[in-house]
């Protein structure tokens, strides 16, 4: 039985992953800031076959309580086999440009709170000498763009943090998967004018994420074709990128 800790468990992508783990009889602990949502997801996962599901209410921005959350997870799950950090917010770039406090809030929810959790969980899993750590960043972190560079830079900070952390964990037999989704049809993107051809369903994305974590992949573009798109985007010479990018 796999024991799984999910932070930001009410995210549509995380919940879709959880369904797959539940169907295989996993034991889960769901962490998020909305108790009602966690309860609804816990019931769903139980019907789908989870061995047991517990919940812990935490706002990821509340860093002082992170340790309490980890203690609760260790108490309920014992060993942690998989820990996935999924929470995030999509900033209004325009508003951030005019309001520094909003920019800092977005950096907190997408970068510093994630880095705080990674720090805590990495050390714990390292101590266990076992486990898979995973975090959802974004293809937006691969290169800043005028339309969302606050979000992109936050995600990039996490990805770079992971690059450094991964070799350290590797020595302890712990994997670290940096999951970089492209466009996914979730509440986060509802109402955005995205190109329909490029939008994936959470369920499709979850299949690849669950598989990728099991195979201890380092970086996972989901769906896979984004790896190619981002390769091209990264290779664009800066003078050209400056003129073309939106």
């Amino acid at each position: 039985m796999t024991r799984i800790l999910l932070v930001g468990a009410s995210s549509a992508i995380a919940a879709a992953c959880a369904r797959r783990w539940a169907a295989d009889g996993a034991q889960l602990m769901l962490v998020g800031r909305d108790a009602d949502k966690l309860e609804a997801i816990a019931r769903d996962l139980t019907v789908r076959g989870a061995a047991s599901v517990s919940t812990f209410v935490l706002d990821a921005l509340d860093t002082p309580r992170h340790a309490e959350m980890l203690a609760a997870a260790v108490h309920t799950l014992g060993t942690i086999d998989i820990a996935l950090i999924a929470h995030g917010t999509l900033p209004n770039q325009q508003a951030c440009q005019l309001d520094v406090s909003q920019t800092l809030r977005e950096l907190a929810s997408n970068a510093t709170s994630v880095i705080a959790l990674l720090t805590l969980l990495a050390t714990h899993l390292e101590g266990q000498q076992h486990g898979s750590l995973a975090v959802i960043t974004s293809v937006a972190g691969d290169r800043g763009r005028p339309s969302n560079y606050v979000y992109g830079s936050a995600k990039a900070a996490v990805s770079t943090f992971c690059e450094g952390l991964r070799p350290r964990l590797f020595k302890a037999g712990v994997s670290l998967t940096d999951i970089r989704p492209g466009f996914v049809n979730t509440p986060m993107t509802a109402g955005l004018p995205l190109p329909a051809m490029l939008v994936a369903e959470p369920d499709t994305v979850a299949t690849r994420i669950v598989h990728g974590i099991a195979r201890k992949r380092d970086v996972l573009y989901v769906p896979a074709f984004w790896a190619i798109i981002l390769l091209i985007v990264r290779l664009l010479p800066r003078p050209l990128f400056k003129r073309l990018s939106c």
Binding site: A40, I41, R43, D44, V47, P187, A190, G191, L192
Partner: protein
């Protein structure tokens, strides 16, 4: 944001969706649109063909994101789920535990809420009646009341009006369903062709009694002595075998061709081949439930095959006493018109009563056929068919309809006034606007 159409892609009135993921999104959606002075309607998987799932305001609340299970008792076979859970999802958890949906339409992609709102029937109507008979309770959100629970004992009037209520009496938030036990997920089926309509009625009279699931395919192009020829299919869950969720390979119709691929020539060729493929003596085989119940699900978005103009389904039920003559008259009109498609289905329905006020089935025979949309269809063929149905005392299925007259609707569904009285003033469909004029 992408807009939505109905499954038939006719009428082409694009719907702007508000995605609903959590129960409170329903109440919020109702309130937001009310503030804008707009009515609305729930939109599930959008597998209804005509305009009964299209909002009069063209703004729908998209409920497919309400896709969580709430509780399950695998001892008694009761499952409670949010309204956007699809039958495919329900089966994926219930089959391994030895339970199947008590009633299932010809596609497993429908949502629980949508299936209740049309009080759907399946190949076992003669044994189990409609889905509404197997709904224990449901949770409803209305614009004018706090969230409420309806059942055969609580809020009875609303319960009965909501089953088959075309989404008008409130937004279904969740429902509890009584499942049916199975010992295996395999179906033992019997297939046999018939040469005439009389032969269909004779086969159906004897074999329907012996089998849980029955349906017939009919060659809508056959005329004269071949009128009403087709293939009878019956089946039962096997007593032994695995309890396995099917994951068949699925193709997707990638584009909408510029013209309908369904036309007189292709239909004729397909039908003749299909009919000849079946044998006169019964062929028995055992296989997975999926191709037996949901043959069309193997090609996603097959509705595109009809081209940009879309298509319409004509589904009627003719009461027992006039069924033989009524169905024959309909088939004569259809064969003479040269319109029609390979998708034509005939089935006997029983008199098992539904709690629903506007349920479609009645004791008799139901005929369902798809037609590429054209002006000739609406102005020539459908009025002729409607006259036959009217004279035979039958009625049309709102879930498939984009044309029935207000008069025919009101005559054949006299309980509509009771549903109108309980309708949430914030909910209104194009269909309802059309037929209650």
């Amino acid at each position: 944001m992408p807009t939505l159409l109905s499954w038939g892609r006719h009428p082409q009135t694009p719907q702007t969706p508000t995605p609903c993921h959590w129960p409170d999104d329903l109440s919020r959606g109702l309130a937001d649109l009310q503030r804008q002075g707009r009515t609305t309607l729930a939109y599930g998987a959008g597998l209804s063909y005509g305009d009964s799932g299209l909002a009069a305001s063209d703004h729908v609340l998209h409920t497919i994101g309400l896709d969580r299970f709430i509780a399950a008792d695998w001892q008694t076979g009761r499952v409670t789920a949010q309204a956007g859970v699809t039958f495919e999802q329900m089966l994926s958890v219930s089959i391994p535990r030895g339970w199947y949906l008590p009633v299932s339409p010809g596609t497993k992609y429908v949502t629980l809420g949508g299936a209740i709102a049309n009080d759907v029937h399946g190949k076992n109507h003669h044994r189990h009646g409609t889905l509404g008979r197997h709904i224990v309770r449901l949770g409803l959100r209305r614009s004018d009341r706090a969230p409420l629970v309806c059942s055969a004992t609580d809020e009875t009037a609303l319960f009965r009006a909501t089953i088959g209520g075309l989404g008008l009496t409130g937004l279904i938030e969740w429902a509890e369903v009584k499942l049916m036990p199975i010992r295996s997920s395999r179906i033992r089926s019997v297939t046999q062709r018939f040469d005439t309509l009389d032969e269909f009625f004779a086969l159906s009279a004897t074999l329907d009694l012996q089998h849980e699931f029955c349906v017939s395919w009919i060659d809508c192009g056959a005329a004269g002595r071949s009128l009403g020829r087709g293939v009878y299919m019956a089946g039962d869950f096997a007593d032994e075998g695995p309890l396995e969720v099917a994951h068949p390979r699925r193709l997707t119709m990638p584009v909408t061709p510029p013209v309908s691929l369904v036309n007189r020539a292709t239909v004729r060729a397909f039908n003749a081949l299909y009919w000849r493929h079946a044998t006169r003596t019964p062929t028995v085989r055992t296989g997975s439930y999926a191709p037996f119940f949901y043959p069309l699900d193997s090609v996603l978005q097959w509705n595109r095959i009809y081209g940009p103009a879309g298509f319409q389904q004509y589904q009627c039920v003719i009461p027992e006493a006039s069924a033989r003559d009524g169905i024959a008259a309909l088939l004569r009109e259809i064969a003479a018109s040269g319109l029609g498609s390979p998708l034509a289905v005939l089935k006997r329905c029983s008199d098992l009563a539904s709690p629903g006020l506007l349920s479609f089935p009645m004791a008799g025979t139901t005929l369902a056929l798809d037609f590429p949309h054209s002006d000739r269809l609406t102005h020539d063929l459908f009025p002729r068919l409607d006259a036959v149905v009217r004279n035979a005392g039958g009625r049309l299925y709102p879930a498939k309809d984009a044309h029935m007259s207000a008069r025919d609707f009101q005559d054949s569904y006299p309980a509509w006034t009771a549903v109108e009285a309980l309708r949430d003033p914030q909910l209104l469909s194009r269909f309802w606007q059309r037929v209650t004029r």
